[in-house]
Amino acid sequence: MVGVPLAIFMVLIWGMALVSIVLSFTDWQGIGPLHFVGLDNYTYLFTQYQFFWPALTHNVLWLLVFVCFATPMGILLAVCLDRPLRGSAIYQSIFFTPVVLSLAVVGLIWELQYSPLAGNGFIDSALVGTGLMNANNAPDWLGDSSINIWAVILAASWRQIGYIMVLYLAGLKSVDPSLREAAAIDGANERQTFFRVVFPVMAPINVVIVVVTVIESLRAFDIAYIINHGKGGLELLSTLITNNSISEASLIGFGSAIAVVLLVISLVPIVLYLTRVMRSED
């Protein structure tokens, strides 16, 4: 009952992760026998491949914006909406709606906002229409490689905020109300109650929030891919993997080396999460 699904899971998920590691030490291009080349792929990746450091930087930026903006914003909304407030359910529905959309649809929705003036993009049309900007200076939000990653991360944050809000709201609802009453009787104000009483007892949810934030920024793929296949300023580790090994070239060994880098980074939040789960099981 457990054996077959577990075996399939082990082969398809962890087995493939291991195969990625093995392939990363070869120069396999999909045909012929495996030929091991030691660390060549990694040396090339770190020292010569021009897209690696930009892609890694973009993933880190993605994470930083999530950590400094999207996640705190989601938590703030959850705290605001946790109190009895008229219309709370409506606010929640609005903030949560982007979460049920596919990230590919999110990409297309924001393309309508970001398109250049010639493409009737809303933001540029508004900037020029109101005279805030000259038609010649209107930025090409998605085409300009120095700013397009920010535009895409903002679109991703639009979805992330609602996701974090719901997760955190669920956590807040599970906090024993008598704790808050006790804090109120002791004369704590709302801010003190949240930071000194509520936040610490929400430790399990806080870990989930951290894990979700990190993992979502490592998984980032769909929005960048639907906009321009993750090129011209939108390189991400994930799009480098697929572009090098599947969609455009067949550099299996090299793409696997990028996958291994992503794997190693992903294991940090995963291990953090598992140690947490283990501790709560004991």
């Binding site: 609005i94 590919a104 229409g129 993997i241 789960v277």
Partner: protein, 302 residues
């Protein structure tokens, strides 16, 4: 005397302040709600406008609409084989959701009812695997799909690649991790006495699973089904990588080929996006409770 007057003044003052802060909160939330809703409202608005009208007008998207029409929707619907794509989605999503629920409920039952030493290990491998970015495993998985032979009725090219069954396999496998984790936590909260009573009556393991545990898990199963449906429906990555032919892709992944090759008119692309978004939005509006409960169950026991 003066003390009570003072106290009275203070509470009145506090009440005033609270009302003020409440109003501030409402203003903050409504502004934010508008910013959040705007991109979606704008999408719908663009999808209802004839493209010629936007282009012809120097004010572009700010031109006052002379007409709002569904013609973009009809053009996309008639010009592209959308029914085919929705059908592909159904063929992939429905079996994946049912299989995931069936398998993970069995695994969760086994884990939560029997004490094995490696229970925790199984759960950890499942959960951790589910957290991996799919891009980490896609390269070998893609090659594996090209290697595995499949007989004719299941596969029309003799492979696992470019086949519905291949997509169902990876969705089911990937989601089983999360679902098992949630369901096993849920089952642990169920009363042990019911199971013991059933065992006294001579019920076998399978009877306990199907007659006692599953009916009690209906709320959790419903919540999981809602979440799984949305996630698998929204999948873009697996379907993009594991299908060669655009025509076999489900509707969400078909957005990639449609937006690149066939639909270059923004108003039509907007109409297509709305049509892709509608099923999950409707599901969310109708089953909001299950949706939230599913996410809560997943997060509650960190």
């Amino acid at each position: 005397m003066s003390a009570t007057v003072l106290a009275g003044q203070r509470t009145a003052h506090n009440r005033g302040r609270r009302r003020l802060s409440r109003m501030g909160l409402h203003i903050f939330l409504s502004v934010l709600a508008f910013i959040f809703a705007f991109p979606i409202l704008y999408l719908v608005y663009v999808s209802l406008r004839p493209y010629g009208e936007i282009v012809a007008n120097p004010n572009g998207p700010f031109s006052t609409p002379a007409t709002l029409t569904l013609s973009n929707y009809f053009d996309v619907w008639n010009g592209q084989n959308l029914i085919g794509y929705y059908w592909n989605t159904a063929v992939i999503t429905i079996p994946s959701v049912l299989l995931t629920l069936w398998i993970s409920s069995m695994v969760a039952f086994a884990i939560s009812r029997f004490r094995w030493r490696f229970n925790l290990l199984v759960l950890m491998l499942f959960t951790a695997g589910n957290l991996l970015p799919p891009q980490v495993i896609i390269v070998p998985l893609y090659r594996l799909y090209l290697l595995i032979p499949l007989p004719a009725p299941i596969s029309d090219n003799g492979l696992l690649y470019d086949q519905f069954v291949g997509l169902i396999l990876i969705h089911t496998t990937f989601q089983t991790g999360f679902c098992t984790f949630v369901l096993s936590n849920y089952m642990k909260t169920l009363s042990q006495e019911l199971v013991e009573a059933a065992m006294m009556d001579g019920a076998g393991v399978f009877t306990i699973y199907s007659r006692v545990i599953l009916p009690l898990c209906v709320p959790a199963l419903a919540a999981m089904a809602t979440l799984l449906f949305t996630w698998i429906y929204n999948d873009f990555f697996w379907a993009l990588m594991l299908f060669k032919s655009g025509g076999k892709r489900p509707i969400t992944a078909a957005l990639n080929n449609l937006s690149g090759e066939f639909l270059t008119i923004p108003t039509q692309l907007a109409a297509l996006s709305v049509m892709v978004a509608i099923p999950t939005i409707v599901l969310y509006l109708v089953l909001q409770r299950y949706f939230i409960r599913g996410l809560t169950l997943g997060a509650a026991k960190g």
